[in-house]
């Protein structure tokens, strides 16, 4: 490693292998199942991308989707971050231009793994700026395989986060670079990367608050320099203008309170720079008077702004935060929960224990860019503690700081003393080769355990498409349960093109994407009252539900039922959330307590509450289930629900307004058709045909008489029927 050539070749190949490892460890799902889009949100992204590639960019921006949120519809172009779709569409376009014909689905499936490779490279660059090349390489290796990032970027999970983490890391790299050099070139690069981030993910708010915080802390630490001034002034102005080009963001950057910190720091930086300038020009006396004048003026301004904010934006903001905690639909999403230590350890393993050491080294040897990484670590760890989902923003910084910690240990323990060029001094020598090699071995062992853990977690926890399920027999052979696609394909083939399908909101995107049918609610949960109406229909009895379904023009109802195979994520297990959301909007009609037994339990067997046993969801789930003997030993009675381990309480289910249309192979998806209104009931007896008396009447009258008589008879029959 004496020549620089060898070193760069080695770095390059390590980096390349890290990218390769990152790419291939995300392919578990594709190899086990097939190249398929996963979960829920990716289906919407895929559908939008498909729309983009078939209809062009401008058509996509103006897209009004009348197939979602029936009868309201959704303006898609103005309510999405288009970065993901545009990236995939662009790659598809370029490949086709080169006559490499790829289906857009394959581009979508493999986009996240490809971008994880790019993330590894940008993490390497950022860590190299912060510490040194070795730490950078370690960080690239860590981020390539760490489960906290893999959870959002396996092949097939075509979601915003997959490309956003790359944009985040690259923006930070360019920012650090521009603070270091003070050159407008790097800053413009940073702005462009920031623009890409804004177009890709709502998490750009993290950047636009962290960078001002960095500048502010630098000012506090009296580390102000021209470089910081140039970097931040350019970044704020250009970044602001660029971010406002995204339709979904629009004028938010100058209106909402999340972006106010950036504006405030911008003003502060200008004032500070102006004072610095005056300091050189004026005498001490003049400067002091001017300083006090300026400070009092600024204090007054700040005071007024605070009052203004309190009475307008901030107050409302606090209220919305309150609402976020107390609206059931937000509480029902498992990603919005705080994080236990187990999830930290599960997602980061050894890194979570060692990255504080890296933070320690960074703060002990502080400089401008290490201030940045320290702030990044502290803010990200706070947000990750509040919400499981934000573990994603913590993961890159954990990788970088752990790499710093490990690399500084390896640096001191791996090198061979005897082969150094200049003979070491007495005091520096001494730990001895034995201790050194023991330390190195044990550290490598820890890293090996980390790699094993990462592979295990990726393979077991994060590589399930959740559209296709797999179960394993005792001898290890695998059963594929493809019920979802079976049912969606049935919908696509056997129903009217404009049929409206009611389901719980989780399945909205999948129905739209795979079955291509109109849905009432979907995963873009923007209209709570509409969702509550669907929840109310599901939790009412059949006749009340029929009225709601008639008023919403529902043709089919789709539910997920896991009682046959023991699938725990089915609609009965989600049912309480439907009741809660419905209760929030219709407290008079739906009450959560009605669905519990007197002991306060939620049971589906005979002891369950009668309201539950007669509600639409229960009836649809268990229709004809009482006749079914689930083969699982001979002892289980017919109608035994394997998910809830109970024999169902209502085996005699009959429908008046619905009929079963389709049930998939393992009963996982059941589809019911909503009947049209019945014909009027036929009369009990025939209309009497009266022989008209012709004797004394003209030709016109008998008809009238007959008509009157018939009318009379009809009235009577109506009265008595």
């Amino acid at each position: 490693m004496k020549q620089p050539g060898w070193q760069s070749l080695l770095s390059f190949s390590i980096l390349f292998l890290a990218c390769l490892a990152g790419f291939s460890s995300r392919l578990f799902a594709v190899i086990r199942f097939e190249s398929i889009i996963h979960e829920f949100d990716p289906w919407f992204n895929y559908r939008s991308t498909h729309h983009l590639t078939t209809n062009g960019f401008y058509e996509f921006l103006n897209w009004f989707d009348e197939r979602a949120w029936y009868p309201l519809g959704r303006i898609v172009g103005g309510t999405v971050y288009p970065g993901l779709m545009v990236t995939a569409g662009l790659i598809h376009y370029v490949l086709n231009l080169l006559h490499i014909t790829v289906h857009i689905r394959d581009v979508c499936v493999f986009l996240a793994p490809v971008f994880s490779g790019l993330t590894a490279i940008s993490t390497f660059l950022l860590t190299r700026e912060l510490w040194n090349q070795g730490a950078g390489l370690l960080a690239a290796c860590f981020i390539a395989i760490v489960p906290g990032y893999i959870s959002r970027s396996v092949a097939g999970s075509f979601d915003n986060e997959g490309i956003a983490i790359f944009a985040l890391q690259f923006t930070y790299y360019l920012w650090v670079k521009s603070v270091k050099t003070g050159s407008v070139f790097w800053t413009i690069g940073c702005c462009l990367s920031y623009f890409y981030m804004v177009s890709a993910w709502g998490g750009y708010v993290f950047i636009i608050n962290l960078i001002p915080l960095h500048v502010f802390v630098l000012l506090l630490m009296q580390r102000y320099s021209r470089r910081v001034y140039i970097a931040y002034s350019t970044f704020y102005i250009v970044g602001l203008v660029l971010s406002m080009q995204i339709p979904f963001v629009g004028f938010q950057p100058i209106r909402t309170s999340e972006h106010m910190a950036a504006a405030g720091v911008f003003a502060l930086l200008q004032a500070y720079a102006f004072l610095q300038y005056l300091k050189d020009r004026l005498t001490r006396q003049e400067f002091q008077t001017l300083f006090f004048l300026g400070v009092s003026l600024a204090a007054g301004m700040v005071f007024l702004t605070v009052i203004y904010l309190t009475y307008t934006g901030l107050y409302v903001r606090l209220l919305t935060c309150y609402a976020k905690i107390h609206i059931p639909i937000i509480a029902s999403v498992s990603e919005h929960q705080p994080t236990t230590w187990v999830s930290f350890f599960f997602d980061l393993h050894i890194l979570v224990c060692t990255f504080p050491a890296g933070l320690w080294f960074c703060i002990k040897n502080i400089n401008d860019e290490r201030v940045f990484v320290a702030l990044y670590a502290i803010s990200a760890v706070y947000f990750a503690g509040v919400m499981v989902r934000l573990m994603l923003t913590l993961t890159p910084v954990v990788c970088m700081l752990s790499a710093v910690a490990f690399s500084s240990v390896f640096e001191h323990y791996m090198g061979d003393d005897t082969k150094r060029e200049k003979p070491p001094e007495k005091a520096e020598e001494g730990l001895g080769p034995n201790i050194k090699s023991i330390v190195t071995m044990l550290m490598l062992m820890l890293l090996m355990m980390f790699a094993v853990h990462c592979t295990w977690v990726t393979s077991n926890a994060y590589s399930s498409p959740s559209v296709v399920l797999a179960s394993y027999n005792h001898d290890g052979t695998r059963n594929i349960l493809d019920d979802f696609r079976e049912a969606y394909y049935w919908l696509r083939q056997n129903t009217d093109e404009h049929a409206r399908v009611m389901s719980w909101w989780d399945y909205g995107y999948q129905i739209a994407g795979m079955a291509n049918r109109t849905t009432l609610v979907d995963n873009n949960t923007w209209n709570n009252s509409h969702i509550a109406l669907v929840g109310k229909a599901m939790s009412s009895n059949e006749s009340a539900a029929y009225q709601i379904m008639r008023s919403l023009d529902v043709d089919y109802v789709l539910i997920i039922f896991g009682g046959v195979i023991g699938y725990s994520g089915d609609d009965i297990n989600k049912f309480l959330w439907m009741v809660r959301i419905a209760e929030g909007e219709h407290p008079k009609d739906i009450r959560e307590s009605d669905y519990f037994t007197p002991q306060g339990e939620f049971r589906v067997d005979k002891a369950g509450s009668p309201t539950l046993l007669n509600c639409l969801m229960y009836k649809m789930s268990y229709y004809r289930f009482g006749e079914m003997q689930v083969r699982r030993g001979a002892l289980t009675p017919p109608g035994f629900d394997r998910t809830r381990n109970a024999e169902i309480g209502n085996k005699d289910i009959k429908f008046k307004h619905l009929e079963e249309a389709f049930t998939s192979e393992h009963w996982l998806v059941r589809i019911y058709k909503v009947k049209k209104l019945d014909n009027r009931e036929p009369l009990d007896h025939k209309l009497r045909s009266v022989v008209p008396k012709q004797k004394y009447t003209s030709k016109k009258v008998p008809l009238m008489l007959g008509g009157e008589f018939a009318l009379q008879v009809w009235r009577d029959s109506f009265r008595f029927s």
Partner: protein, 309 residues
């Protein structure tokens, strides 16, 4: 009117008098304490034109009922909100029966758990829904108020006395820091002390990675004591939850591993006696290896199916 015309069984506690008596008591204290005798006369005996909410509880310290105390606080908040609201009337009263003052009432009502909230309506006997479902809904005053509105049509807006403890703590902290700065005003070098700042940063990091935020939001118990054999378990069996004690253990383990890494680095970089540095190095290595394997074994005990047992 109904009040005047009614026939009173014992002459004295006719509804008119009863309600006046109740008004007088509740104007003195928002929650009326009852013993067995009073309970039978004012709550059980039929001629009544007011609803009564009764909390059956065991507040005596020797009963060791910590839930009762929490429930009592919530109940007091609710009763005070009602007592001092503009809608206060003689339609609804809040009372409490302590087990040690009215054990006979508990026997009479066949009640064997405390606390229990019951509503005695003005007319008729209490139904099933007149017993508050404590297990499921909890005993927050807002939930109680909702239940009362459900049973009696009396809407109570819960007004909690503002909690000053946070403000006081903040003021104390600010004054402490201010005082420290004032005392050390001649020498402000310590602000530039990197070790102090690094310590503070690590404290935040350790607190978050050990799930203190989860504790703060979810409020789990400190540890779990098995009622059968009295064994105390500090580690929650499931990976979805944790105890406070557990998160403290994890905090210490994480800190120890970090310290081990720092010591390893110190041993290699510091210029000092070789033997001393060797010891530091070995201690650091031991900290990392031992505590990480300890952490791993705790994780395994929580995460069933983790490989390589």
């Amino acid at each position: 009117m109904f009040l005047i015309e009614c026939k009173c069984p014992n002459g004295m506690y006719c509804p008119l008098f009863k309600v006046d008596q109740m008004m007088e008591w509740s104007s003195r204290r928002s929650v009326v304490r009852m013993n067995g005798d009073k309970f039978r006369r004012f709550v059980k005996a039929p001629p009544r034109n007011y609803s009564v909410i009764v909390m059956f509880t065991a507040l005596q310290p020797q009963r060791q009922c910590s839930v009762c105390r929490q429930a009592n606080e919530e109940y007091q908040v609710l009763a005070n909100s009602w007592r001092y609201s503009s809608a206060f009337s003689n339609k609804l009263f809040f009372t409490v029966v302590d087990y040690d003052e009215g054990a006979d009432v508990f026997q009479q009502l066949n009640m064997n758990s405390a606390p229990t909230f019951m509503h005695f309506p003005a007319k008729g006997k209490p139904k099933r829904a007149d017993t508050f479902d404590l297990q499921r809904i909890g005993f927050a005053s807002e939930q109680l108020a909702k239940w009362i509105a459900d049973r009696t049509d009396v809407q109570i807006r819960v007004f909690r006395p503002p909690n000053y403890s946070g403000t006081i703590a903040l003021a104390l902290l600010v004054s402490l820091v201010g005082g420290l700065l004032y005392l050390r005003r001649n020498n402000l070098e310590f602000i530039y002390n990197k070790t102090g700042w690094a310590m503070a940063a690590l404290c935040v990091v350790f607190a978050m990675t050990s799930g203190q935020m989860w504790n703060h939001i979810r409020g789990p118990p400190y540890a779990h004591k098995n009622p059968q054999n009295g064994q105390v378990s500090y580690i929650h069996g499931s990976s979805q939850a944790q105890f406070v004690a557990e998160s403290h253990i994890i905090l210490l383990l994480n800190a120890a591993i970090t310290m081990g890494m720092v010591l390893l680095n110190e041993a290699a970089t510091s210029k000092g006696d070789v033997g001393k540095r060797r010891i530091i190095c070995l201690v650091g290595l031991g900290l990392v290896v031992f505590f990480f394997s300890f952490l791993l074994s705790i994780f395994r005990s929580k995460y069933h199916g983790y490989p390589y047992r």
